[in-house]
Symmetry: C2
Subunit: 320 residues, 2 copies
């Protein structure tokens, strides 16, 4: 089953947002346009816009109003991906070369800046001071998460709490805010706004943990980039914490460094896969999903609510 089938009734609106995204990154500057298009055309799940729209559907839905928040959130997400690739020196993203690989770090930096600036343009249409406060706070946290990720690289004595805080900042908050801003733009009740925020937060946590699992279990074709990349980059994700509980394996993991031969890393990944690290990580991801679904329970029944539920369940099972 495809993710898009879970919100097929939004098809026309999602297409509208896709068109708007193309318009957003259009620019007379060829370099900027090409670099932005390069990422946009690589696709992506557009999960943030989908959450914005579905959350708005729990209130008074006006696509012309809410689309601005949806476009803004996807642009902010894309900007953060571009800057993230600079940090990680990533070559591939969504089956394509990254902007920094195709052009260079400088172009990637300004392409991210530009997407971010365009996001702000779109947000100004939402004349609600609270919405702006929520979003700018989330962006600050996003930056803190990215910096923490640099600081925590290869720091094998960090705690699992550091990991959870990092993925909260890096992923969960922006998804939470997608849901919340959708609800705000749709003028949903304060109760619905709170519930949807929490739903997004829990889904986001589950989503990132699944991502971190897939980095071990996925194939290069499924991931659109080589597997095991996180560990090679020194990013210590949930399965690694569990794997390090094995004394001998922990010892080998702690010796991972940037210039390690690929084969040695593959050995370690194979050993991690033989532990219960993946299974235990999945359990935690599932636990977050259950919490997400509980938030929805309190909302009145609707097609949007059913979609949110289906997407959350899909995310828990996703293989890419």
């Amino acid at each position: 089953m495809k993710l898009t089938m879970l919100y097929s009734f939004l098809k026309a609106d999602i297409e509208e947002i896709e068109k708007e995204l193309s318009k957003a990154i259009d620019s007379e500057t060829a370099l900027l346009k090409n670099a932005s298009l390069h990422l946009l055309q690589a696709g992506g799940k557009r999960i943030r816009p989908v959450f914005v729209l579905l959350s708005a559907k729990t209130g008074h839905y006006d696509i012309h109003r809410v689309k601005n928040a949806a476009v803004a959130l996807e642009l902010i997400h894309m900007a953060s991906l571009v800057h993230d690739d600079v940090i990680d020196n990533s070559e591939m993203r969504r089956g394509r070369t990254t902007i920094q690989a195709e052009w260079n770090n400088q172009v990637a930096m300004y392409t991210g800046d530009y997407m971010f600036a365009r996001a702000l343009n779109y947000m100004t249409v939402i004349e609600d001071a609270t919405a702006h406060r929520i979003l700018s706070d989330a962006i600050v946290e996003l930056c803190l998460g990215e910096i923490a990720q640099i600081e925590d690289k290869y720091r094998f004595n960090q705690s699992i709490k550091d990991y959870f805080r990092r993925i909260k900042r890096k992923t969960a908050l922006l998804i939470a805010v997608s849901c919340q801003l959708g609800a705000v733009a749709g003028e949903a009740s304060a109760e619905a706004q709170r519930r949807l925020y929490r739903f997004g937060y829990y889904v986001g946590m589950a989503y990132q943990i699944t991502d971190d699992i897939l980095d071990f279990t996925g194939t290069e074709k499924e991931l659109g980039k080589p597997a095991g990349g996180d560990l090679l980059q020194g990013n210590i994700t949930l399965p690694v914490f569990f794997a390090m509980e094995d004394r001998e394996l922990g010892h080998r993991i702690r010796k991972i460094h940037e210039d390690m031969p690929k084969e040695d890393l593959q050995d370690i990944i194979d050993l991690i896969l033989k532990t219960d690290a993946i299974k235990r990580s999945s359990v935690i991801s599932q636990r977050y999903l259950v919490k997400a679904l509980e938030q929805l329970d309190e909302l009145p029944p609707s097609r949007a609510k059913k979609s949110l539920r289906d997407i959350a369940i899909f995310i828990g099972k996703r293989k890419y």
Copy 2:
């Protein structure tokens, strides 16, 4: 005479903003805090906050309200400097090592992102949709200007129009917006808002041209970085356009490249200084200043207006 003497009656408020800037970049993440402080403590003229405050003084001045716009604009400016240094691979800024030289490109990128995000936090206090639109448009232009600067590097057949558009985007617009937002925050008349925007725009153009002249005529001590840096980076500034009118010198300038020995570059700079390029550039800078002052003429007399006038004149004569 010192610049600060021209607005001494604002001393307490400027100190308040300085305090707020320190607070803004404070962060539990040591890396981020140290990198941001590194730039903040290097000082700077804080010309954007000063323009915000003085412009607000033409209306109803409330420091608690207007300071948020002032802090936001200085943070956006600082963020753009940090990203600019990554592009230019600059080692020095305001007599200090740059963040990218002291740490690395990655840290500089996220420090800029963080400052920018914090700027948005401050802006959300200004509940005026127009203000947000003005600012986000200016930020988009700022990014376009930075990208254009990359594209136009070593492109010696560009037109002088490309230069003016670049400095408009890179410098003048944000100064224009500083004045405009100050006026908006102070609820000054629509006429005053328009006039102050234009004043800022013209001052900004003059300011950047002077900056570009000083890069040739200033000493390393005055500039806080080595002279001639622009040309070595391939940034073609106003004096270079005039110097290239000399056929032989133009021929030599067009051969400038990244790995050129410093002595060869110094030779070319010395030759440029012997032409009328600096003088002709100064004339254009002065012309912008005159236009700036004309905008003020139409505003009712006030201490703030006198300060704006004095600062504009000072900027035309500045040596650093």
